[in-house]
Symmetry: C2
Subunit: 147 residues, 2 copies
């Protein structure tokens, strides 16, 4: 299905491979880079998580390198089981901290709460892992005894 060769953009002079910095890419390329599905990327936009930097004349979404970075952050957050709403808040928090304009102390406080939630989720994940390992082990035991 995915025919990578049939790109509709000819390589410019000096361009070696992939998309050069400063260029915008459309959703398919972003999906390839991030490993997210088109639907997922659009869904994140619907929910205000990552808005494409631009749109083409005809309405195609055009993403910058920064947009892709945001998507990567989301991808790294996912195993923590945060809701989209929480991810949105955290993303906003991080960009606000980068461009210092808000109430620094309050921002850091909120960030600390996220960190607490994250570590809590990590221990929950560890517990889940232990249960999972236990179950897999008991399956193995069943197999051994019934051989």
């Amino acid at each position: 299905m995915r025919s990578a060769a049939a790109g509709n953009r000819v390589a410019c002079a000096g361009e070696v491979t992939g998309t050069p910095r400063g260029e915008l890419m459309q959703i398919g390329q972003v999906a390839e880079r991030t490993g997210l599905s088109l639907r997922t990327i659009r869904f994140y936009e619907e929910n205000g998580l990552v808005l494409p930097t631009a749109r083409s004349e005809g309405g195609f979404r055009l993403y910058s390198q920064d947009d892709v970075a945001r998507l990567d952050v989301i991808k790294r957050m996912k195993p923590l089981g945060f809701s989209l709403e929480e991810m949105q808040e955290l993303l906003g928090l991080l960009t606000e901290l980068d461009s210092d304009d808000g109430d620094r102390a309050q921002l850091l406080d909120r960030l600390r709460m996220f960190h607490e939630a994250a570590t809590a989720r990590v221990t929950a994940l560890r517990d889940q892992l232990a249960v999972a390992e236990g179950f897999a082990g008991s399956l193995a035991a069943h197999l051994d005894s019934r051989r």
Copy 2:
């Protein structure tokens, strides 16, 4: 919410604590024991995972010790991310193996496949945990540097 004290069954003579073996309990007690919600237990029944051993005259679900054991198995499977359908199959498999009647070799083969799937899910969980730890760590780093 969960009022443990308000049991609607009076203790019989000779009964010290909890529900004695051989007795049936209704859904609330089962929920307490398993840590599953009433809704979840009913949902599992709807999907053929755990049917109550009996019903009261008036239609209350009545569960045996074995039923509770099945629910516990499900609870232990959950972190592996199996679907309800898969859990149903695995439960059936196990009971078929206990009461030996079917094609033993084939049953064991299917069990082996479950074991493989389980170990695969375990490694996936480990990966997720690693990502989660990484993210939590980067949050901590952010906090440190912005202090």
